[in-house]
């Protein structure tokens, strides 16, 4: 068997799986987004672009109306996803730096701890946060008991609660790529910087930070994209007050039964994500060309 055939055989399971279960549904979604919505869900097979018009501004005004609220929800989703990225980065970077300096056996232990949340269900963990944050929850009870507040704080169903939830579930996705790139940095480079007069702060800024750039970028993408489209966290911790784009998509399909509109939102979201990924790959390859 020649190398090409071997390669083909090796990548075929992945390719087949992805084509059937990923590209197929996306194609269906794409087609649906240009069809007329059925009255009770489903689609009517007529070409129809007013679902996009409803979001981007050219609705027919009869069945669909342009509503700028979708822009706002997109923007708000971006904002929440961005906060999530920044917070996970700020939390994970020092931790990853610290773990990378430990002895090997401790490293493995702490890496295990980081991945521990994966061992339990996401929904269960989010319900735990609800119990902590609700007006009669643990945090409020403690604050009341200590006399720091007089009446329970509204913490659940706020943007802050959604950000807490998003940060909480996506921390490992930031941590692992970040750790991988920090861990890879040759310790002698740090010593060389020290040796040439760089104190720890300068060394961090000029050596560690730029060399961990691929990890920062990778972690940010891995956190940003699923945060942007997430609907479970805003559903459980944001309630009706905090909407993210994922909630609207979910509601379009399941509640409003307007499939083309949901498909439309999903396609727009995907275009944004793919554009960002392209940038990411370009940025990374430019960086790697230099390394």
């Amino acid at each position: 068997m020649d190398d090409k055939k071997k390669l083909f055989l090796l990548i075929s399971p992945f390719t087949i799986y992805i084509s059937i279960f990923f590209l197929g549904p996306i194609l269906i979604l794409f087609v649906y987004s240009f069809l007329e919505p059925g009255l009770y869900g489903g689609v009517v097979w007529n070409f129809y672009h007013h679902s996009y018009g409803r979001i981007l501004g050219w609705a027919d005004g009869i069945m669909e109306e342009f509503n700028p609220v979708y822009f706002k929800i997109f923007l708000n989703s971006f904002k929440l996803a961005l906060y999530t990225v920044i917070l996970t980065l700020l939390i994970c970077y020092p931790t990853a730096l610290w773990i990378s300096k430990l002895k090997p056996k401790f490293k493995i232990f702490f890496l295990f701890l980081v991945t521990l949340p994966f061992f339990s269900s996401l929904v269960v963990r989010l319900f735990a946060w609800m119990l902590l944050l609700k007006p009669s929850g643990l945090i409020n009870e403690i604050l009341l008991f200590l006399g720091l507040i007089n009446s329970p704080l509204q913490m659940l169903f706020t943007e802050a609660a959604v950000i807490i939830g998003l940060v909480y579930i996506f921390i490992p996705f930031m941590f692992l790529p970040l750790y991988a790139s920090i861990e890879k940095i040759d310790h002698s480079l740090i010593q060389a910087s020290n040796d040439l007069g760089g104190n720890n702060f300068i060394t961090f800024l000029k050596i560690t930070l730029p060399l961990s750039f691929p990890g920062i970028l990778g972690g940010s993408i891995l956190v940003f994209i699923p945060s942007l489209g997430n609907f479970i966290v805003p559903d459980l911790l944001g309630g009706a007050k905090v909407m993210m784009i994922g909630n609207i998509i979910e509601q379009s399909f399941l509640t409003a039964r307007n499939w083309p509109f949901g498909a439309c939102l999903a396609i727009i979201l995907m275009i944004i994500v793919v554009t960002m990924l392209t940038f990411y790959v370009k940025l990374l390859s430019k960086y790697e060309k230099n390394i």
Binding site: D186, S188, L189, Q191, A192, S193, N194, D195, L196, G197, G198, N199, I202, K206, I207, P210, L211, N290, I291
Partner: protein
């Protein structure tokens, strides 16, 4: 050369072994380095030479003892404030910076003026012969070029002492010998004292003003390359530096005459050996101190003759190495080609001569 630049006093460093015991990586090291001196720390791996270097650069802390640079103790000074720079074994060039950025790294931290910076940069680029390469990235350079960038990056800061941690070990033999010459020239031109760590004794002999031979965390001997080579003080140095034939035996006095006696060899020795009578000693003879033709020896007063049998002959170009045995003692001899034009063959009986005065006595 008279003023002390660095002095290391009673330096001791302990390491914990995985079994829980303690090993002295450095055992009461006392060492001085002077201005404009090329000092080499030479020893087998694990002898403590790199540890000693790291205590000077500040990457390792001493358990006891002190290090002074121009009279001031530096052991509490963090590494980034010490007036020393290091050339690392793997060069440790910053992969995300160009050659220029790498070289001026230290200067940028010191925030010196752009003008001075460029002037110094051009000077070191010229010194290391890499003009025109300043915008390359380190991985676009060959091993030898990377090595020179690492050197430039260190000496541009004009340290009082440059520490070099086996900087040539990753280079091939030819490149290594040309870099040896370059390093020595750079040291001469810059006037910076070099402390060079190596396990390669040829390298040490060819470059150093002074060699510190280390073994098991202690200094075994120090001196000029010639001193170390021709007058090793102990068996370790004699064995480690160059090739040597150690004749281990005893001096005995028979009928008023001193004799060297071992299970394989015996020969008469002069009065110089009287003080060692009935003592175990070792005589160290360098391979090139053996001769086949006695006419090649200048001094024949203390000529010792051995009857040997050839085991093997190795041709080295200008020299021939003959491995032979005297009874069961294997001797390595290095003979000049023009000394005897015969083809030595296996089992040939030959006569070996050496001048006892030129050999070394180790007790």
């Amino acid at each position: 050369m008279s003023e002390k630049l660095i002095s290391i006093v009673d330096a001791t460093k302990l390491y914990e072994t995985p079994e829980g015991g303690e090993v002295k990586a450095l055992n009461n090291i006392n060492l001085e380095v002077f201005h404009n001196e090329f000092v080499t720390l030479l020893g087998p791996s694990g002898c403590g030479k790199t540890t000693l270097l790291k205590t000077i650069s500040g990457f390792e802390k001493l358990d006891s003892g002190n290090i002074f640079i121009e009279g001031e103790s530096i052991i509490d000074t963090p590494s980034y404030k010490r007036p020393v720079n290091t050339v690392f074994q793997n060069y440790a060039l910053f992969p995300h910076m160009s050659v220029k950025k790498n070289i001026v790294y230290g200067l940028e931290i010191k925030k010196i003026s752009e003008e001075d910076k460029n002037e110094k940069l051009n000077r070191v680029l010229n010194l290391i012969g890499l003009d025109g390469y300043e915008n390359r990235m380190p991985q676009q350079l060959s091993g030898g070029q990377q090595q020179r960038v690492a050197l430039a990056r260190a000496i541009i800061n004009e340290p009082k002492i440059l520490l070099l941690d086996e900087p040539l070990s990753a280079l091939d033999k030819k490149l290594r010998s040309s870099m040896q010459i370059e390093l020595k020239n750079t040291q001469n031109k810059s006037g910076i004292s070099f402390i060079f760590v190596t396990h390669d004794q040829e390298e040490a002999l060819s470059m150093s003003d002074r060699i510190i031979v280390m073994n098991n965390g202690s200094i075994s001997q120090q001196g000029s390359p010639e001193e170390i080579y021709y007058h090793p003080k102990n068996k370790f140095t004699a064995d480690f530096i160059g090739e040597t034939n150690l004749l281990k035996g005893k001096i005995v006095n028979e009928h008023g005459k001193n004799k060297f006696l071992s299970s394989e060899i015996e020969f008469e020795v002069n009065d110089k050996f009287s003080e060692f009578v009935n003592q175990d000693i070792a005589i160290s003879i360098r391979p090139e101190q053996f001769f086949i033709d006695e006419n090649f020896l200048d001094n024949k007063t203390n000529l010792i003759q051995l009857n040997a049998t050839v085991i093997q002959k190795l041709f080295f170009g200008s020299n021939i190495k003959i491995i032979c045995k005297v009874n069961n003692l294997i001797l390595h001899c290095l003979i000049k080609v023009d000394e005897k034009n015969s083809n030595f063959h296996k089992d040939e009986k030959i006569k070996l001569y050496f001048d006892l005065d030129k050999t070394n006595l180790l007790t």
